[in-house]
Symmetry: C2
Subunit: 418 residues, 2 copies
């Protein structure tokens, strides 16, 4: 089974946007075990689009198009395919109703050219668009399958995932169930993780096992094929247990979890309130955890103490601590955590201080970070990082490590974390 | 002049990364007036790579490759081109010295396979790699020019920009100077901006004028061709003046400026210190401006007041204000701004309160934001936003609008801002 993804849109060729659609679809197809051999990007030009289609037909069974389904004259994907395959464009009443309704809800007048979006290839399966107007299409001919998807990622991604993807195994008479499961790690490098599971990587068959690193996080994707969902799950769980036994301490979550969403779950579940005093991260820790809806139930607030005098006069860190140990020190991080916890009356207090870079700060080289955590009546703890990235990479890493250490500490202290 | 960009790497086809290299190179070529008609992505497979090269030779004059120049067996770009064009691979001594030096600096042993990276196509112009090991190449044959670049963006981007791009005009016997200049706008929508300069867009020849919207910001790119840099600049300045006369109030900067970097420049230049009290943005305003190196000179710090009691008991907002007007109100935003300015003893105090969404908050619908600004002895002012995005889009918009309003206020008050 070979696939090719053709993105249509001059804005891609002008370098105004990246082809993130091809990345998304490719990762989804990889889960299904469908090989993608080529991506093509072509402009809003019917002749060159036709050229791309003909080339793709020579080297792929499944051709997936993104873009060019909108209402303007530039949108030519289905028109070009219609002419090429000699399939008429017919009005899809369901899609038209939906488009009319869309304009009603937006309280805007529907212009005539918007009706064009309800035209679909004769004989296709219509893929409803729940986040926009233009419907998608799946058309199968003797030798090929064609999937047409809209260009905006917020329309394309859910349409592919929920409307197109479930049809793919059937399309190729595949009776097999394919299940995919992602384990998420923090605090361990990709190389170290791979070493610890090298034999599992070397001998993988079913489930397959794929590591991926990005933004300082590492994931392992476990993909199992079987005749039933239950059997596929069994295979995945067996392998997962083996991995957990080896590197379980670094697992923070699964699938679509993020460090912040996981932290929120844990704090809400255990009814723990949190506050933070941030220096080098300047609010990034609190902003990142507040990005998750519902954090208001546990995040009380905090302070950004960029200067020494604010640390002392507003937060309440003793001047002596700073004089003796400096602002970038275990002692200062612990004092910040303790002071904010008491001042804001929370279960957890976080203190983050460091030198984000590129310059040294508080007598410490760029990349030095101290994280303090005060948790209820426990004696506060601190962690040191020596980061080597650019300023803002270091700031984000400091935030992620803070969440990682906090989750680990809560687990060690017997709170429910998984 | 037609160009095609071929990205080589199975990780792209597996959906592990996006092809941001094609976007970068395309935008750079657009500045030079070189048309990109296709992007292709192909895996680490010599047969399929050859197929892509042959297709590209049929439809492009300039073919730019990214990726596949590394030390491993999978890296096959130059080997495939070498065989296809019948050009030997020869050792580039300069590149080898650099690679050896790289290992010395990293304090690591150089393995034999790394020498492979110093091999280049016979007769090519070597493009030095100042951020990695594998050099790039520019090779010209009778009908085509081939540029080979490394895959990692941090190596590829500077190599293209500083080593390859300057060679391109000469390559095509182009004696013209091409200059590009970006004007950056905030607080005006793309449609509105385009309407205000529609005649300039319709009648553009030299300079050309290209609008682009992303993340709530709009830019206009002015590109002029001429026989000399001075003449090209003259053309750009003339058009820029015309645009400034119409929509100058929304211009916040040029080229690589960001709202945050511009704000920092202005605050440092005018020696104005700043603090902020944030509710819905939860530290994002301070974190965004602290992302710019050197913000420590003017950012003192602030508070994150996620709960009502913190607003009252820690920040000092009067309970009566909240009881009378609610936490999402002009009055509360102004009180937050005034309190933090006084408490942290700064020239400027910022207060941000709102309902990020998806739920309503403080009796106001999701997307309602109030921004308060207190500036020295001026009577404090407030601004209301009604945003319609998702939670985190709204939070980021609120931050950007805060910077925009602050810059505009400082300009109105006679501070130097451009």
């Amino acid at each position: 089974m070979k696939a090719e993804i053709i993105a249509v849109g001059s804005e891609l060729l002008l370098g105004q946007i990246s082809n993130t659609n091809a990345r998304f679809i490719s990762s989804q197809l990889a889960e299904l075990g469908i090989d993608v051999y080529f991506h093509t990007v072509v402009g809003d030009n019917p002749k060159r689009l036709l050229n791309s289609i003909e080339i793709a037909e020579n080297r792929a069974d499944l051709i997936i198009f993104t873009g060019g389904l909108g209402p303007t004259k530039d949108d030519l994907t289905k028109e070009t395919i219609s002419a090429h395959l000699n399939k008429k464009l017919v009005l899809d009443k369901q899609a038209l109703l939906y488009i009319e309704d869309f304009f009603k809800r937006m309280n805007r007048e529907m212009t005539e050219n918007n009706k064009k979006q309800a035209l679909v290839l004769e004989g296709c399966t219509v893929l409803p668009n729940k986040n926009g107007m233009a419907p998608g299409m799946l058309l199968t001919t003797e030798n090929h399958s064609y999937i047409l998807l809209p260009g905006p990622p917020k329309e394309m991604e859910p349409m592919f995932q929920f409307e197109a993807k479930p049809l793919l195994p059937k399309l190729f008479n595949e009776e097999t169930v394919i299940l995919s499961h992602v384990m998420r790690f923090y605090g361990i490098g990709e190389a170290e993780l791979e070493t610890r599971v090298q034999d599992l990587l070397d001998n993988q068959t079913n489930p397959t096992l794929a590591p991926l690193a990005s933004d300082g996080e590492v994931t392992l994707r476990l993909t199992a094929k079987s005749n039933s969902e239950a059997e596929a799950w069994e295979k995945i769980e067996l392998l997962q247990k083996e991995i957990f036994d080896r590197v379980g301490e670094y697992v923070y979550g699964y699938n679509n979890d993020s460090l912040a969403s996981k932290l929120q779950e844990i704090l809400v579940e255990n009814q723990l309130t949190i506050s933070a005093a941030e220096s080098m991260t300047a609010g990034l820790f609190q902003s990142e955890i507040a990005a998750v809806k519902g954090m208001g139930a546990v995040l009380v607030g905090g302070m950004i103490t960029y200067t020494e005098s604010i640390k002392v006069n507003q937060l309440g860190v003793e001047q002596q601590v700073i004089d003796d140990f400096g602002v970038v020190s275990s002692e200062c991080a612990v004092a910040m955590a303790t002071c904010i916890k008491e001042k804001f009356d929370t279960n957890i207090g976080i203190g983050i201080t460091g030198a984000a870079g590129p310059d040294a700060h508080g007598g410490q080289p760029a990349g030095t970070v101290w994280i303090g955590i005060a948790l209820n009546d426990m004696s506060p703890v601190s962690y040191k990082l020596s980061l080597s990235g650019m300023r803002n990479t270091n700031r984000l890493r400091a935030v992620k490590f803070t969440i990682h250490y906090l989750i680990r500490l809560l687990r060690e202290q017997g709170y429910k974390t998984i």
